[in-house]
Structures are given as structure tokens and as C-alpha cells.
């Protein structure tokens, strides 16, 4: 399962970076979203994938019985998802406003601030 997820994560990173290099701003934002998902999945995978084994410490022991999934990264992923959601919402509004005011969705035409 880890191997499959490793490939999925790799493909997500590659797809995200590829989308970011397109000239269309909508694709740029989609690429950023994919990158966010890739890093979330990476952290999720790092915590080990174990199903149906809550990491509860039995009475008298100091560690939960192996194998267990580390809950900390899952908490991190939850936080990161929430932050990513906020950023994405902002991005979508920004793209809309840019298209309305600048009048183009092509990044190559947005050179006014570089002159």
C-alpha cells in the first residue's frame, strides 16, 4: 500500500508542477492545489498506514501494541487541509478578480509589473 501511495504522491507532485508551468492562471491555481494534496498525502503516509488499530496505550504499558499508526501526522494533515482550503478559496477569488480587471487569463500577458 505504501508503494502505491508513494507513486500517487510522486505523480501528484509532477502534475502539480506541470500545471504551474502552464500559462493559464486557472491551471496555475489547480497546480498549486495538487501540490498541497501531494504534501498532505506524503505526511499521511509517513505516519504508517495501519487500519483498525487505534493507538491506545493499554494499562501498564508505555507504548501501544505494534503495529500502530502515529496520530500526530494525521493531526498535522488536518491542520494543513484547513489552511489549504482557506488559501484555495482566496486563490479562486483572486483569479476571478484578476480576469475581470486585467482582462486576460494568460500569464505571459501579465508583464505590467515587471517593466
Amino acid at each position: 500500500m505504501e508503494v502505491i501511495l508513494a507513486f500517487v504522491i510522486g505523480v501528484l507532485y509532477a502534475a502539480g508542477l506541470y500545471m504551474m508551468m502552464r500559462r493559464n492562471i486557472v491551471k496555475l491555481i489547480a497546480g498549486l492545489a495538487l501540490l498541497g494534496y501531494a504534501s498532505n498525502l506524503l505526511i499521511f503516509t509517513i505516519s504508517r498506514l495501519t487500519r483498525g488499530k487505534p493507538p491506545l496505550v493499554p494499562l501498564g504499558a508505555s507504548l501501544p501494541p505494534e503495529p500502530f499508526a502515529d496520530p500526530v501526522p494525521q493531526a498535522l494533515v488536518l491542520t494543513a487541509i484547513v489552511i489549504g482550503f482557506g488559501m484555495l478559496a482566496f486563490a479562486i477569488v483572486l483569479v476571478r478578480r484578476v480576469y475581470q480587471t486585467v482582462g486576460t487569463d494568460d500569464l505571459d500577458e501579465m508583464t505590467a509589473t515587471d517593466a
Binding site: L35, L42, L94
Partner: protein, 508 residues
């Protein structure tokens, strides 16, 4: 010690509470104005209090929610953190006072002041946290606030700059998250002190090096170092000048702070490679930055390229990696934040009286408005490194450290860049202040100046005067500040003190 616990929370709680009050008082611009001044002065005061507390009794640590150190989130303040909080307060105070007279009604009515406070909260939080993931969260807090400030007003020019700023900074967050994930996978901890203890025992040296490079790229994008700075000059000159000042004073410097923290505390095992690389990058950063600046004819864009050049000086000290060099870096950090903010504010006032940022169209300001010219000259000369102003001592400390470390090439580069810095400052002087204005007569400029009501004028000039006076004071009474910088550098170079303060002996 409960009083100490409260002390470290203050720089985060004060802007948070004042921003929330500002949000509730959405329709009352007057309350928002007063509360934001109170908030920024509060940050400044709490920063000074933390500084003196550290000078008295060493590094302060607060366990949030009383969870013991490697498990909960900790706030840690060493001298560098305290200096960052004070600088956030100083820039915050100056920018908010300047904003009272310069930011237009449209922006104010959409929560300009609360967002400034949220941004300052992010800066303080990032400077005080001792937890890797918490650092990420604070970075996001200051990023989202900076996005809002960047687009507030919604002019086409601004939005175009915002797209560039937004996408590169979001790329940085994604990389940051990835790097944190791998770091946690390697060490099993997010506490910086615990990571610093565990990382040298990790056998996969290659992976550790990959991580070091990832953090260099992540904080490098934030700090705008050599190949990663392109977002900065294409976005920083688009929002109102008060916002540009706030960004130039704090955003890149938080990146430098994070680099300093990570590369003195965590990645210190292979300094031959990592710190030499940082040194090479620092030379390229200062050189490309200043070359970009020399070619510019827009007041604010020229200054934006200078930010990059100065980042090179800041990480030069990190690359040399000695106490003397880091002393120079920390003193330089204080100097550049103050001098740069003053220059941006001057550019704002000259835009108000002349109606443009274009150096070709500016002119005659020396004759028509001599006091503004004097206020420009002081920080400009400080930036060029003219004694006895602050920039001279900052550069002297770095050059001396470079000579001690026998890094002659970087010393030569830094001196050449210093001359070019002075050259580009004289260029602004010659174009904006000395030559005759191509469009306006002196009377036009004076009429524009007199059209600003005296009350507003005081609010515009006071922060510039305050910052310019600080550069002079920093230069003439440099010794106590250099002394504090040296102590801060010693704390950075001896991370054991930091680790013991956080973990109290060792990881169980």
C-alpha cells in the same frame, strides 16, 4: 514562573486581541485607528520587556497548555527572537502612524488596520515559536494577511503583482509542508530543540542533506535569495507605500530569521557544504540585487531590488558561521529594517507631492522640499555604509568577520556591492532631488505639499523622522546594540543553551 509565561504570549495576544476589537468595530474607523496604534505600541513594549528579561535570566521558554517540552508546542525566546519582536513593533508603529494619513478610505473600510495587526501577529509568532509545524502555521498566518494587504484596493496593477506573489509563496508553503513531513518521518519530533538533538544521530546522511536543501529553498523563497527572488521586484511596488514598507521591513526578514534559526540549530553537521553554499548564494544575491537596482528608474522598484541585495549581506554572516559574522548579521538586520523602512516612506511622501514614482519624471525636490531631502539622505547614506551611520558598523562587522575567516572573495564582493549601493542611492538623489523636474515647477510641488493638512503632515513625517533618528542613534551609540547582537550571536552559535532551556537536560 507564571509572569514569564505571560510575557511570551503578549506579542501574539496583543495584536490578536486588538485586531479582533478592530474587526468588531468594522464601521468605526476611528476605533480601528486608535486600537491599531495601541496594538503596535503594545508589541514594541512587550518585545523590549522580553529583551530585558532575557538579558537578566537567559532564554525564556513557555510550554503552551503546560504540555511538557517535546510533546506540546513551546514558545522560546532567545535574544534574536526578542530583536525580531522589537523590529516588528518598530515597523508596525511607523507603518500604522504613516497609514493614518496615507491609506485611502476604500482600503480602510475593508479592514486594513486589523489585517496589518494580523500580519504583525504572524511575524511575532514565527519569531517566538520553537516548534516546526507551528512555524508553518505562523508563516501561513502572515502569508494570508500579506495576500489581503497586497490585493486590498483591487487595482489591476496590484492584482497582477499579487498573482506572482501569491503563486510563488504558495509553492513555498507546499514545499515547507513536504519538508516538515520528511523531517518528522526522520526524527519523530516537531520540537526544534529535540530535532537538533536527534538529527546528528540519524544515519541517513544523504536524506538529512536533502532536507537541509529543502529548508534552504523554502526559507530562501521567503527571504528572496539569489535564484528565488523574482516574485519580489514584480510585486512589492504595487500596493500602497505603507504596505510596501511593512513587507520590506518584515516579510523577507522573517525568512532570514528562519534560515538563521534552522542553520544554526538544526543543520549544523555538514557546515563545509551547507554554509559554504549559503556563502556563495549570499555573494550572488547581493550582486544581482544591486545590479538590478542600478538599472531601475522607478523609486520603489529600485528600493525593492535593494531589499534583495541586503538579504545577501544578512546571509553572508550565516555563511561565514562565526560569532563575529553572526553579530554583524544581527546588527545589519536591525539597521536595514530601520533604514529601508525610512526610505520607502520617503518615496511615499515624494509621490504625494510629485504624483509619481518614476525617477525620470521626479525632480526639484531638494529645492522645493529640503527637509524631505534631508530625511532621504540620512537613511540613504546609512544604507551605503557611510560612517558614522548604522550601515557602516554593520558592514564593518561583516567585513572584519570575513577577513578573519579568510573569505576574501565574499569580502571583495560585499565591498563592490557597497559602492554600487551608494551609486544607486546617489542616482535617486540626482534624479528625484537634484535635477530640475521635467514637469513641475517648484511652486507646483510646494502647492501640493501645502495642500496636505498640517495634522496629516505630522503623521506622515513623524515616523520617517523617528526612523532616521534611530539610524543616527544606532550609528553613534553603536556599542550597546553591537553588544546585544554579539550576545544573540553567541546564543545562536552555542545551541546547547537553547536545547537545555527547552528540554531541561535531554529527551526522555
Amino acid at each position: 514562573m507564571p509572569d514569564m509565561d505571560i510575557l511570551l504570549i503578549l506579542p501574539i495576544a496583543i495584536p490578536l486581541v486588538t485586531a479582533i476589537i478592530g474587526m468588531f468595530a468594522w464601521r468605526s474607523r476611528r476605533i480601528q485607528r486608535y486600537i491599531s496604534v495601541v496594538g503596535t505600541f503594545g508589541i514594541l513594549a512587550s518585545g523590549v520587556a522580553i529583551l530585558f528579561a532575557i538579558l537578566d535570566e537567559g532564554i525564556i521558554v513557555t510550554n503552551i497548555g503546560d504540555w511538557p517540552a517535546p510533546f506540546g508546542i513551546v514558545l522560546v525566546a532567545d535574544l534574536l527572537s526578542a530583536i525580531m519582536v522589537i523590529m516588528a513593533g518598530l515597523v508596525g508603529v511607523s507603518v500604522v502612524i504613516f497609514s493614518l494619513a496615507s491609506v485611502d478610505e476604500l482600503r480602510r473600510s475593508f479592514g486594513y488596520y486589523p489585517v496589518v495587526l494580523f500580519l504583525l501577529m504572524g511575524v511575532c509568532g514565527a519569531s517566538l515559536t520553537g516548534d516546526m509545524f507551528n512555524l508553518f502555521v505562523w508563516f501561513e498566518v502572515l502569508l494570508i494577511s500579506s495576500f489581503v494587504l497586497m490585493v486590498l484596493g483591487g487595482e489591476a496593477f496590484q492584482l497582477e503583482g499579487a498573482i506572482k506573489y501569491f503563486s510563488l509563496n504558495l509553492l513555498e508553503s507546499a514545499f515547507f509542508l513536504t519538508a516538515i513531513g520528511i523531517l518528522y518521518g526522520l526524527t519523530g519530533s516537531l520540537n526544534m530543540a529535540a530535532i537538533a538533538q536527534i538529527l546528528p544521530t540519524i544515519e541517513q546522511g544523504g536524506l538529512v542533506m536533502v532536507l537541509a536543501m529543502m529548508f534552504l529553498v523554502v526559507f530562501g523563497i521567503k527571504a528572496a535569495i539569489f535564484p528565488l527572488f523574482f516574485w519580489l521586484p514584480s510585486s512589492y511596488h504595487t500596493p500602497p507605500v505603507a504596505v510596501t514598507t511593512l513587507f520590506s521591513g518584515l516579510m523577507t526578514k522573517v525568512g532570514v530569521y528562519a534560515l538563521l534559526r534552522v542553520f544554526t540549530l538544526i543543520f549544523t553537521t555538514e557546515t563545509d557544504f551547507t554554509h559554504t553554499l549559503i556563502l556563495v548564494i549570499s555573494g550572488l544575491t547581493m550582486f544581482t540585487g544591486v545590479i538590478g537596482a542600478v538599472a531601475q528608474y522607478n523609486f520603489r522598484r529600485l528600493l525593492s531590488f535593494h531589499i534583495i541585495s541586503q538579504i545577501g549581506y544578512l546571509i553572508m554572516g550565516l555563511g561565514l558561521f562565526t560569532v563575529g559574522a553572526l553579530t554583524g548579521t544581527i546588527y545589519f538586520l536591525i539597521h536595514v529594517i530601520i533604514a529601508k523602512s525610512a526610505l520607502f516612506l520617503v518615496s511615499g511622501v515624494s509621490n504625494m507631492v510629485s504624483g509619481t514614482y518614476d525617477l525620470k519624471k521626479l525632480g526639484s525636490l531638494y529645492r522645493a522640499y529640503p527637509s524631505l531631502a534631508a530625511l532621504f539622505l540620512i537613511p540613504a547614506l546609512a544604507l551605503g555604509g557611510i560612517p558614522p551611520l548604522s550601515g557602516f558598523w554593520a558592514k564593518l562587522a561583516l567585513v572584519q568577520a570575513g577577513l578573519d575567516a579568510e573569505a576574501y572573495i565574499i569580502v571583495a564582493v560585499s565591498l563592490i556591492v557597497s559602492v554600487l549601493t551608494l551609486f544607486s542611492m546617489t542616482k535617486i538623489w540626482a534624479e528625484a532631488f537634484w535635477k530640475d523636474s521635467p514637469k513641475q515647477s517648484d511652486e507646483d510641488i510646494q502647492r501640493n505639499r501645502d495642500a496636505i493638512e498640517p495634522g496629516r503632515m505630522v503623521l506622515l513625517i513623524t515616523p520617517i523622522l523617528f526612523l532616521a533618528a534611530l539610524t543616527v542613534i544606532l550609528g553613534i551609540w553603536a556599542e550597546p546594540i553591537i553588544d546585544v547582537s554579539r550576545q544573540a550571536a553567541e546564543q545562536l552559535m552555542n545551541p546547547d543553551g537553547y536545547i537545555t532551556a527547552v528540554l531541561g537536560g535531554g529527551v526522555e
